[in-house]
């Protein structure tokens, strides 16, 4: 049931993500929150599958090569799920950190395509921070 809710939420947030205005030039990313939630909630296999689907959804709505973000999110889910066994997901900074890690993984995937510049690294930090902050309410909503 929870996985179904996450899938529905993933589809809704992916659709909303492209429509929302950018914040100081940075587009709000919701899908890393889904990746973080899946990794810290579900079994590893399901979490990786959901993360891959979230990344593919992101790629489908972007000009990036299809699957790159999916691959990056899947790896992020693997890492977060691995650490999840020793982390307490109820602490607020854990979702923040997990969301940021997922966002950074997506960005690193994109860097493999577009290359790295100083501006892009600064952007990565901003985007990861915003994604981390967004992750906290996503955890609260889905858990509720």
């Amino acid at each position: 049931m929870n996985a179904l809710l996450v899938i529905v939420l993933m589809l809704v947030l992916a659709g909303v993500q492209a429509k929302l205005p950018a914040l100081a030039g940075l587009r709000l990313e919701f899908l890393p929150a889904i990746v973080a939630y899946s990794a810290l909630t579900f079994k590893r296999g399901r979490a990786v599958l959901l993360a891959f689907a979230a990344g593919c959804l992101q790629d489908a709505l972007s000009a990036g090569p299809f699957g790159v973000t999916g691959f990056a999110y899947a790896i992020a889910a693997l890492v977060i799920a691995g650490l999840g066994t020793v982390l307490d997901r109820n602490l607020p900074f854990i979702p923040l950190l997990a969301g940021s890690v997922a966002s950074m993984a997506g960005a690193i995937g994109a860097f493999c395509i577009i290359g790295v510049t100083g501006v892009a690294v600064l952007k990565l930090i901003g985007v990861a921070l915003i994604a981390g902050v967004i992750t906290i309410p996503v955890f609260l909503v889905v858990d509720a």
Binding site: A14, Q17, A18, K19, L26, R27, E29, Q58, L61, S62, A63, G64, F66, T69, G106, A107, A110, F111, I113, I114, G115, T117, V119, A120, K123, V127
Partner: protein, 243 residues
């Protein structure tokens, strides 16, 4: 009886006084009588007020819709005039989405394979060059904007005829690289597509030169900062050059 009637009907002092008494006696009732129709009219007024408010809201909505239609009509007329001027076979499309990622700059249009679109077709509007198609499905296509660093267009300075490559940057401006260091370029000079490369046809307006500087790494070329002609944040309708 007739005498009484004649007496009362006359403007005598007694008649006047009698009239005054009757008036004073009847005044409260008249006021009461007046009050009842006022209550009715207030209800009517409230009703009318509500109706007028709702019709006012409706009219304001219609006016807004009308304004939007006028703007859209102007845009479409402009696009149509532009389309008919083009010697190429073109296809109009609406922008239905933007890039959901922070790392690419693209838009989604409502035409796809079913309309004969394929990768590497040039997309433009009445203002200038927008980008190229990089992904197509049956009913939609993804257009990589010229502001994306991955999108490159062979370009030409209109007055000096100096060639170069226009690409996107991390910001809102474009840059033109590989321009000869000996070329004399002035700010405000228009930049057009050169037609080389096989994707963008020759002569499409890209923007104007806003800054000129020597390439700091090699010193062999000039790098130009280009102010794009197109406002990439406000794209609504575009034209795809099909042939």
């Amino acid at each position: 009886m007739a005498g009484w009637i004649i007496f009362i009907g006359q403007p005598t002092t007694v008649a006047t006084k009698l009239r005054m008494i009757f008036v004073q006696l009847s005044t409260p009732f008249v006021k009461l009588g007046d009050y009842i129709p006022v209550v009715q009219s207030r209800r009517e007024l409230d009703h009318q007020n509500r109706e007028l408010r709702s019709s006012n809201d409706l009219l304001r909505q219609q006016l807004r819709a009308f304004d939007a239609t006028v703007v859209e009509n102007l845009q479409l007329n402009r696009l149509l005039a532009f389309k008919t001027r083009q010697p190429y076979r073109t296809l109009g499309a609406r922008v239905i989405g933007r890039d959901s990622s922070n790392w690419y700059k693209s838009i989604q249009i409502d035409r796809g394979m079913n309309d004969g679109l394929r990768n590497d077709l040039a997309v433009l509007n009445a203002d200038g060059l927008i980008g190229k198609i990089t992904g197509v499905t049956t009913g939609e296509a993804r257009v990589l904007l010229l502001t994306d660093p991955a999108c490159k267009a062979s370009a030409l300075l209109q007055d000096s005829r100096e060639p170069g490559i226009v690409t996107g940057t991390d910001g809102a401006k474009l840059q033109m690289t590989y321009v000869s260091r000996h070329a004399k370029i002035r700010a405000g000079e228009p930049v057009l597509s050169s037609g080389l490369g096989g994707i963008f046809p020759k002569g499409i307006f890209i923007g104007t030169v806003s800054k000129v500087r020597l390439d700091s790494q090699t010193g062999m070329f000039q790098n130009l900062e280009i102010q794009p002609a197109v406002d990439y944040r406000r794209l609504e309708e575009v034209v795809v050059i099909v042939e």
